[in-house]
């Protein structure tokens, strides 16, 4: 079965780009630019992996990450966090992210990270 990936980024263009990228590589992507709806979206769409932007207006990626960790229903869903600042990697992992990728990224690097996360879970 196709793995379902939720992309949470407040930048619509990145969201659309990622959707295209994921869909053309054998995944089914759902995009959202509303970080506060992440828990709802995961539960509603049976998500296998979340790609989460760290720097968002409103709720930050870090906060979303913690929220997902604290909720029993979403705690097991792996999170791949992305940020334009590579220095936040450590904090993202502490907040509960499964892995981290810097923006901008190589498509190959993103796909290989997704593949290895899904293999582990």
């Amino acid at each position: 079965m196709m793995n379902k990936i939720l992309v949470v980024d407040d930048d619509r263009v990145i969201g659309e780009m990622l959707k295209f990228m994921l869909n053309s590589n054998g995944y089914s992507a759902v995009i959202s630019n509303k970080p506060e709806q992440t828990v709802h979206n995961i539960l509603h769409s049976a998500i296998d992996l979340v790609i989460l932007d760290q720097f968002m207006f409103g709720l930050s990626g870090m906060e979303v990450c913690r929220e997902l960790q604290e909720n029993e229903a979403t705690a097991r869903v792996p999170i791949l966090m992305m940020s334009a600042q590579s220095a936040v990697k450590k904090n993202c992992l502490i907040a509960g992210a499964t892995d981290f990728i810097s923006k901008p990224f190589e498509m190959k690097a993103l796909l290989s990270k997704i593949e290895s996360i899904l293999k582990l879970s």
């Binding site: 720097f55 600042q85 190959k108």
Partner: protein, 485 residues
Amino acid sequence: MIYSSSSLIAILEGEDFILTVAIDAILDQLGRGQEIIGKPHLDAVPELEEQGLGDLMREVYRTGKPYYAHEMPVHLIRNGKRELSYYNFVYQPQRDVKGNIVGVAAIATDVTKQAGLNKEIRESEARYRQISDLVPDMITNATADGEVFYYNKVWTDLTGWSMETIKERGWGELMYPEELPTVKQNWMSAVKTGSDFEMEMRILDRHGDYIWHISRAIPVRDETGKISMWMGASTKIQKLKNEEKRKEDFLKMVSHELKTPITSIKGYTQLLLSMMGDDTEIQWKSLPIKPSLERIDNQINRLTRLISEMLDLNRIEDSQLHLQRETFNLNELVKNTIQDLEYADKQSNIVLLKEADCQVNADKDRIGQVLINFITNAIKYSPEDKNIEIQVFPTDDDRVSVSVRDHGIGIEKKDQQSIFKRFYRVSGKNEETYAGFGIGLYLAKEIIGRHDGVIRVKSKKGEGSEFIFTLPISIKTDVKRINDE
């Protein structure tokens, strides 16, 4: 016995204080002769009455309580000249067998010399206190063991605590709780080793806010070199910190705002590239599509590196470039970096000539950044010959080096040290065609320097360059050459 004592002793009888017994030395001190014996003392030496000593004697006579004086200045007329001396003395009531007070004994020691010195010290001390209260810094003095015994007035002004409270509760309670263990540890270590103490720390102010200070303390040594005390000063740097924060926030925002569109551009470029597959022949109005997309992708990478370099430069200037150390295999990092770059740049031929399997404890991303800088420079400055040779080799038992050699335009001797300076660009007709900020090598040098490593260049104009960095090995036993000839 009385007469041989070094003390000055006089017995004054009755309420008129008739001098009945006086050793010679006291007469010398008073500047008088034997003639004053048997006379009312305050009449014979009227300057005592003038200076209030008569009142003290009468008080002792009336109450029976002895009076002690410490380093009291007393003016006496000796040989017609008024002279100042200092005395430690006691006026002791004299009683008869029934316990009635019948007179006063004066027992005194001349401490003029000592008092003079003490006075100088006191004056110097008072001057010191005044200066220390005048400066806007928080000043402390501590014993050789590191125990603070003096805080200047700025401490009370800033904290709102009284001097007594500060002394009683100690400075520890005024520190930012999370920083306190480090502050204590650094302070103890400075006290133990006798080295200067310097640290940025937050101190609680009277409004309950923690204010950034830079604190310094230096040991004061006596003539034998032994530490006699510590002098410390803390300067408020809150405004500077606010500015740094504002700048850092701004740069984070800039970084985010610039990299967001770049992420999309790069994403779409790579999507298009992946759709082209291996077909390099597809053209649109004679423009070959795939090579064009690869160029776009390369330029995006270059733009991304420039943005990162600008941010790093700012971090280095603010001493905010923190290393995230981990132990990793340097050889693996070199291999992976070459792979990534080869993928992005198909025109160059990057060869790993020599490998050495060894672990270093370093910031992997930062060392990777230095490598990328070396290799992209090698590509950039080699317009003709795109062969780049890389070697990983042990320098000695404790260190490992990575060298990146190109066959490009090379660097003149006179420029070879300057290229590591910030914003330095080699000038020349040829070089001007190579764009850049002049930050990359400066950052590389800073990064390697922070790892206790060395960076250097070997080059000849027209014959290419070799850039080498050397790092300490973390686990020595792991050094083994893989394919050394």
